[in-house]
Amino acid sequence: MSLDRETVARVARLARIELSDSELEGLVRDLERIVAYVDEIGALPLEAVPPTAHAPGATLPLRPDAPLPCLDREVALAEAPRQAESAFAVPEFVTE
């Protein structure tokens, strides 16, 4: 699989990253080489091998299903670059 310019630009849109033309060119070049390298696992017969999503270990205990205090509103908002009406401020994204 090779990664062309159009694919990298589409993935960048999905990842919410804008790229200048020169950044895009550099990334196409780098990602082509990286993907050519990782393609070696694409060529192996692995269908019968179960996937590992997580390093296995002892079973992970669940904590009691009891409510715990969470951050106070002011604390949660303290580092927000913009806030309005005691909430995080974002541009309007729902219209009636």
Partner: protein
């Protein structure tokens, strides 16, 4: 190094016994930070809060209160761990208001590992430099400059915990916390000549470690000696009910383990690791380390880990996928940088902020990760990488049926020059080939200094680490073996 910190256990004993004050020790450590500022090991020196904490500690001692195991010991914390009283930037512009570390994000809580340090009465001296969001192997990929290797300032300190490693190697502090996702504690420890431990996945809480690749990230200690590393591991290890991947396993007696007998242990040497183009001086150092283990009574045997060659590809697919998901939270809304575009709504706000805020390597990995998770490629790359991860893990299970531990080099080369690999990301990734397999298998592993390279015309003697790997939760065995290597290497 002259003027360097004494050992952590010595400092703590002196402070507890009233022979030295925590304020005096903190002042000396702060002076060393000023003197070695050109190394770029620290992004933030916590001058005021460190002195205030030291002063409170001295008052408690004067009042006759018992003090903790790290009483008055200065500790440097990798700047990917949250600190409530110091900015936390991950060496990224996106976690700052205006692109400087001083305007970095102020987390509302301490990382669990940091909270345990403070509970043991350690003094948090400052925040250590790293590759941006821990993505890199040279501590050159941060937004605030590179870390230089104390052994040769024209060379990298390794990465991504290069600031933590350089801080210990140059004696700023006897102890540091780092994080290791694919080698980020072990490789900088090897490059700078200190001890670095990646514990079993889940052994140390990840809560408050800014997530890079959640199925791989581990918090661990760096120190000048095996015993000091053990002391710090003992403080931070243990179950944390607020980290759902924290193992409910009792921490070991790590300091005592350093004196444990190793005679009779079987140590396997994976033949595939010796076929990766090791620099001859690195291989010679490794063979001497093996001989030292042999003289300590270990039986050195050949083992095979046939899926080793899959590790780099497997790791870079899985880590990039997890990173692209974890870093989605950095969007200009809740913390850090916000770049408001003139129009375009929330998607434009996200894109403008992320484009300005992330550096080149982070963008590269976010794009790779987004791509391998995108429709049509998930099965071909991400799911396949998870299957390959199973093969890598099963290699170790088979090997550990016949050996107690595995010994390997940490890196095929010693510290490389600053800038040498920046234009070639793939060569940077390939340099991690020997530390990635234990990470993918979730195993405990460490780097302990073995014989440095011999100086040549254009290169001074450079540190080389020996890597030891053990079955899950067997950190004590690792420490016993590392201490044996250390004893043999110390004249």
């Amino acid at each position: 190094m002259t003027g360097a910190a004494s050992s952590a256990s010595r400092i703590a004993a002196d402070v507890r016994g009233g022979r030295r004050s925590a304020v005096e020790i903190t002042r000396e450590a702060l002076a060393r930070c000023d003197r070695h500022a050109e190394l770029g090991a620290l992004l933030y020196v916590a001058r005021d809060t460190a002195l205030a904490a030291a002063s409170r500690l001295d008052a408690r001692r004067a009042a006759g209160e018992p003090l903790g195991t790290l009483a008055g010991v200065p500790v440097v914390v990798k700047d990917a761990l949250c600190t409530i009283d110091a900015p936390t930037t991950c060496a990224s512009r996106i976690l700052t208001r205006d692109g400087t570390p001083a305007t970095g994000w102020r987390p509302p809580y301490d990382a669990e590992a940091v909270a345990r340090l403070r509970a043991a009465d350690a003094i948090v001296l400052g925040k250590a430099n790293l590759d941006e969001f821990a993505m890199g192997s040279s501590t050159e990929h941060g937004a605030f400059g590179a870390t230089h290797n104390p052994a040769d300032p024209t060379r990298t300190a390794g990465g991504s915990s290069g600031g933590s490693a350089a801080a210990v190697a140059s004696g700023l502090a006897p102890l540091a916390l780092g994080s290791d996702t694919g080698g980020s504690i072990r490789q900088p420890a090897s490059f700078t000549g200190v001890v670095g431990i990646k514990p079993t996945y889940g052994r140390v809480s990840r809560r408050g470690l800014v997530a890079f690749a959640s199925s791989l990230d581990c918090v661990g200690p760096l120190a000048a000696t095996v015993e000091d590393a053990a002391l710090l591991l003992a403080v931070v290890a243990g179950h944390d009910p607020l980290d759902s991947t924290s193992l409910d396993a009792r921490a070991g007696d790590y300091v005592a383990a350093c004196g444990r007998e190793v005679a009779g242990l079987r140590v396997g040497v994976p033949r595939e690791y010796l076929e990766t183009g090791l620099e001859p001086e690195v291989e010679a150092s490794f063979r001497e380390g093996l001989a030292q283990l042999g003289r300590a009574g270990c039986e050195i045997v050949d083992v095979s880990l046939p899926s080793t060659r899959l590790a780099v590809a497997t790791y870079y697919v899985i880590a990039a996928a997890e990173a692209s998901s974890n870093l989605a939270r950095l969007d200009g809304v809740r913390f850090g940088l916000r770049v408001e575009p003139p129009a375009g709504g929330i998607a434009a706000l996200h894109a403008a902020t992320r484009s300005r805020g992330f550096g080149a390597e982070v963008k590269r990995r976010i794009l790779l990760g987004t791509w391998v998770l995108s429709a049509g490629y998930y099965d071909a790359y991400y799911l396949r990488a998870q299957r390959a991860r199973t093969l890598i893990r099963e290699d170790f299970v088979r090997a550990f049926a016949s050996v107690d531990a595995i010994a390997a080099p940490v890196s095929p080369v010693p510290a490389f020059r600053l800038g040498e690999r920046l234009d070639d990301p793939l060569s940077m990734y390939l340099a991690d080939a020997l530390t990635l397999p234990p990470s993918l298998a979730g195993l405990p592993a460490l780097s302990v200094p073995s014989r440095p390279t011999r100086p040549t015309g254009d290169r001074p003697a450079l540190p080389v680490g020996l890597q030891l790997v053990a079955p899950p939760l067997e950190e004590e065995r690792l420490l016993a073996l590392a201490a044996a290597v250390e004893r043999a290497a110390t004249p």
